[in-house]
């Protein structure tokens, strides 16, 4: 029934690619593809997507997945707002962002597709594979809704196909609700010429981790095979995405797993946390395996206790981190100020979500930058860094621990929901034994040496640890002198504040200016930070392809800022930031230039460089697609004061 007519996943790239004829079967080679699986909550779409994505990665494709998460655990079935699922972008080249619109979407019901339409996730020609069971529903309302939706989608220009997902699954299991996701993985494996044995292996690993028996594994293998066979029978044209060998060993995981493994590799001993979306899964990964590496996860009674426990462990000479998200950062504020004041090493991971208040719990935002740097009362200088990739999620944990100890300071690591939940490939880290070293200088403490023997130039001092004879001191959050004695004298307070601030300058002196992507001078420089890097660079590539001279910089260090920014900014006609946080549009209605509120990095750069840094930012609750950034760049390049989405 689907002969030929059904063989147009129609990625723009498809048209140009030569097809290869193998008997009746045509296999088209394409450079990349964006696939989505969407469903009601709890139908296993994410599991299916993760397995399919892992298979793609294991076939040496580039990979980036995005979880589509409803706010509730189980929103009403067939609800337009409750779409749950996953996007999988895979390609020949490394993939560093979610891309623009999907090429193919598998939907377990038609209603959830509406939310994808609202999100702008589909384009004319997107192939929609929809479970046809709703057309035969006993409920006339459902049948009517189904038909109406098909007509809506058809007239919107999507390539709509009904496929018997539930019906075919039912031939193998009494409960297709719990099996259809695997059938779909089989289907996708056939459409994209994936190695079905790899999929079987992933299924086996997954079910063994969940302590499921062989019987269930065998059933799921049969479902994979059935989905595969059905696609082979009904799809005449299939696709392949050639691989470029990575040349080095790669691993595939999401950003929270990378943070968790990075914490283990950094020699962390204590992860003290309180559950909060989207940070918690990092602690889940740790909780499962941390004890093998000599660490523990403490689930505290609240966010405040979580950081207090970590600080207590750190004071006692142990490496400690706490993992949270924006609301948790707000609650921890007082303790974070204490960590600065009393110079207690601590790694704080903030997996940012939409704010303020409870905001968008499952969705991405880069809204905690300024709160991180300036959030505590008084002057509280500390180190703030932001990974821009999964590889950095891992390695920045090692960096953070090192900086925390060397500079005797809290170090904030700003990840976000995009990195946290996206699966991507990264080179397998070469774990160094050195990273696991004990946290402290263990030479004897000189009798009478002060607890804060600040070096006048760098503000750095060595810290005594309980157990160390001669080092006994009372750490305090009150103003204190070198001996940690409470001291309210103005000169002592001024000096201690100097010393704590000087550490930040000393760290900046050790940093190199950021690398520039694209043109090293020209019309426009785009400055970003964190998870937006991949999408920004893709947008820069596109406008450069049209002859524009555009560069981009991704800042990993936010406090201190990387050096040399004024010089770099001076090489471009215009400088702007692109961020996922709020800003007023340039001369937007109701916002005269004097009242314009800038995005957070732009605030920071304007204040520190005195360059007239512009910004474009959005808070869509999802990663910025390259297309949106591209449009913003073009509008700035054309000199428009206002840009539209």
């Amino acid at each position: 029934m689907f002969r030929d007519s059904h063989t147009r996943p129609s990625a723009q790239a498809l048209a140009d690619d030569p097809s290869r004829i193998a008997g009746e079967l045509r296999i088209r080679s394409i450079p990349e593809q964006i696939v989505e699986i969407v469903s009601d909550s709890g139908e296993g779409a994410q599991t299916a997507g993760q397995i399919f994505g892992t298979v793609c990665a294991k076939m040496s494709n580039g990979l980036w997945t995005v979880e589509i998460i409803p706010a509730e655990i189980e929103p009403p079935a067939r609800s337009r707002a409750g779409a749950s699922g996953i996007r999988i972008r895979f390609g020949t080249k490394p993939v560093a962002n979610m891309g623009d619109q999907a090429d193919l979407v598998v939907a377990f019901n038609e209603q959830v597709l509406y939310s994808r339409v609202d999100q702008g996730a589909l384009r004319a020609g997107t192939l929609l594979l929809i479970d046809d069971k709703w057309g035969a529903s006993d409920d006339p309302k459902i049948r009517a809704a189904y038909q109406a939706a098909l007509e809506d989608f058809d007239s919107a220009g999507y390539d709509v196909r009904e496929i018997p997902i539930s019906a075919e699954t039912r031939t193998l299991t009494d409960n297709p609700q719990r099996g259809k996701n695997m059938w779909v993985v089989g289907l996708l494996c056939a459409i994209y010429s994936r190695d079905l044995d790899l999929a079987k292996r992933e299924v086996e690993l997954l079910f063994k981790r969940k302590r499921k028996g062989d019987e269930l594994i065998a059933l799921n293998h049969r479902l994979l095979e059935a989905g595969h066979a059905w696609a082979v029978e009904h799809f005449e044209t299939r696709f392949e995405i050639p691989s470029e060998t990575h040349g080095e060993k790669m691993v595939v995981m999401n950003g929270n797993a990378a943070v968790a493994l990075g914490a283990m590799a950094a020699g962390m001993e204590v992860c003290s946390m309180y559950p909060i979306t989207p940070a918690t899964s990092a602690s889940h990964y740790l909780a499962a395996d941390f004890h093998h590496a000599g660490g523990i996860v403490h689930q505290a009674e609240d966010e405040i206790a979580a950081v207090g426990f970590a600080l207590g462990a750190s004071f006692a000479g142990k490496t400690a981190l706490t993992i949270t998200s924006g609301p948790g950062m707000a609650l921890k504020t007082e303790f974070l100020g204490l960590a600065v004041m009393a110079e207690i090493p601590l790694v704080v991971v903030d997996v940012q979500r939409g704010g303020p208040a409870t905001g968008l719990p499952t969705k991405v935002e880069q809204g905690d930058l300024l709160a991180s740097i300036f959030g505590q009362p008084g002057d509280a200088p500390k180190v703030v860094i932001a990974p821009s990739s999964h590889e950095e999620c891992f390695h920045f944990m090692v960096t953070a621990r090192k900086l925390a100890e060397s500079f005797r300071t809290p170090v904030f690591v700003l990840s976000d929901a995009n990195l946290a939940t996206a699966q991507a490939c990264l080179p397998r880290p070469n774990v160094s034994e050195e990273w696991l070293s004990p946290p402290i200088d263990q030479s004897p403490w000189k009798q009478g040496a002060p607890a804060y023997g600040w070096d006048g130039e760098t503000g750095i001092s060595r810290r005594p640890i309980p157990g160390q004879p001669g080092g006994a001191f009372v750490l305090t959050g009150l103003a204190h002198d070198e001996q940690s004695h409470i001291a309210y004298e103005s000169s002592i307070n001024q000096r201690a504040m100097n010393m704590r601030s000087r550490k930040i300058a000393a760290l900046q002196a050790a940093l190199r200016p950021p690398e520039i992507y694209g043109d090293e001078q020209g019309d426009l420089l785009v400055v970003g930070w964190g998870s937006t890097r991949g999408a920004i660079e893709e947008a820069v590539d596109r406008v450069r392809a049209d002859g524009h001279r555009v560069g981009s910089v991704c800042l990993r260090f936010l406090s201190p800022l990387e050096p040399g920014l004024e010089e770099i900014f001076g090489r471009y006609r215009r400088v702007m930031t692109v961020e996922i946080n709020y800003s007023d549009d340039l001369s937007g209605p109701g916002t005269p230039p004097s009242a314009r509120r800038y995005s957070q990095l732009a605030w920071l750069l304007r204040a520190t460089t005195l360059v007239d840094v512009d910004c474009w930012s959005r808070v869509p609750g999802q990663p910025l697609p390259p297309q949106m950034i591209e449009a913003a760049l073009r509008s700035r390049l054309e000199g428009a004061d206002q840009c539209t989405d």
Binding site: A57, K58, K249, M250, V251, V252, M253, L261, M264, A265, G267, E269, V270, D289, H291, H292, A293, G294, I296, H298, A300, E301, D302, I304, A305, A306, G308, F309, A310, L311, G312, A313, S314, F315, A316, G317, K318, E334, F335, L338, C425, P429, V431, E433, L436, P438, Q442, P464, P466, G467, Q468, P469, G471, A472, F473, V474, L475, T476, G477, I486
Partner: protein, 317 residues
């Protein structure tokens, strides 16, 4: 051991610590403040138990009582209002070699830090928690505390406080996994010392509420307890707080109470008659969270590396 150099653990020549070895900065509490007596009792305890100062950590929050660590010669952590207990639990988590003491007040423990109090008692990690309860906020100058009596006049309740106070003993006895709940008074050095000693030797979290005089803002609050022996009830038992007969004789009201009997402990705590002092409850076999948190302390670097590689194998393409 414990990831720290082993030569920290023993001095090459064992020495005898004197009382003076535990003296820190000169205490700046008001004269007549009950905290002075507690400080002396603790210094005596450290001396008698020969706790090396470098192996002893005093953790506190904010308030008059929380200045305690500064007046000891030991490691100290004078942190945030209400947050002494999470810090102390963190200190204890991976350092079973340290002796951990917490000094907290009624505002610190029973108001702003209540969540931590409940959970720390349940965690039951080995430490001594001293609640120095003077029924008032002293450092911020005379506000109502959660343990202030109904009707007591303060700057925040000039017409008298509206509600009955929290009874910290009743509350503590209601917490799952509580393992040592005692009450004593600052003005009876012998009972105070005996209570702290029993607390220190208890294998778990020992919660000791110390009724503590504040002559500045609560002058005379405990006068009747001090002048009229019948207002106190001494709980006695061989497994309880054991004091000399000389001390015992000061108490006209005595009641034998087996500290393993929780329901009787609650009955005594609920009683509106005399103020009970002694050990309400003890369960040396209660689960200890520090047994969990100290797992794997001795994991070797090789074992850690092997564990990491195994994890990475899982994600290998």
């Amino acid at each position: 051991m414990y990831g720290l150099k082993s030569d920290w653990l023993d001095e090459s020549t064992p020495r005898y610590y004197t009382f003076e070895d535990y003296e820190g900065a000169t205490a700046r509490w008001c004269s007549g403040c009950g905290d002075h007596g507690v400080l002396t009792a603790v210094q005596r305890l450290c001396r008698d138990e020969q706790l090396p100062p470098e192996k002893t950590v005093f953790v506190s929050g904010i308030g008059c009582a929380s200045r305690f660590p500064h007046y000891m010669n030991a490691y100290g952590f004078h942190g945030l209002h209400g947050r002494a207990l999470p810090v102390a639990c963190g200190v204890r988590a991976r350092r079973p070699d340290l002796h951990v003491f917490v000094a907290t007040g009624d505002g610190d423990c029973c108001s702003i830090g209540t969540a931590h109090w409940i959970h720390a008692v349940r965690y039951n990690m080995k430490m001594v928690v001293m609640l120095l309860d003077n029924n008032v906020y002293g450092l911020t100058k005379n506000q109502t505390s959660p343990t202030s009596n109904k009707g007591s006049v303060s700057n925040t309740h000039p017409r008298g406080s509206a509600l009955d106070p929290i009874n910290p003993i009743q509350t503590s006895l209601g917490i799952a996994n509580a393992s040592f709940i005692a009450q004593t008074v600052d003005w009876n050095p012998a009972h105070l010392f005996a209570t702290l000693k029993a607390a220190h030797r208890h294998p778990g979290l020992a919660f000791v509420r110390i009724l503590q005089r504040c002559p500045h803002f609560k002058s005379g609050l405990f006068d009747s307890l001090m002048s009229d022996p019948s207002k106190l009830l001494l709980m006695t038992h061989p497994d309880g707080i054991v004091v000399d007969d000389v001390v015992k004789k000061q108490f006209v009201n005595q009641r034998e109470h087996d500290p393993s009997d929780m329901s009787e402990a609650r009955e005594i705590a609920d009683s509106q008659d005399a103020t009970p002092i002694g050990l309400f409850y003890r369960n040396a076999a209660a689960d200890r969270y520090d047994a969990f948190t100290s797992e794997g302390i001795a994991t070797s670097r090789d074992a850690k590396l092997a564990a990491l590689e195994k994890q990475l194998d899982r994600y290998q393409i």
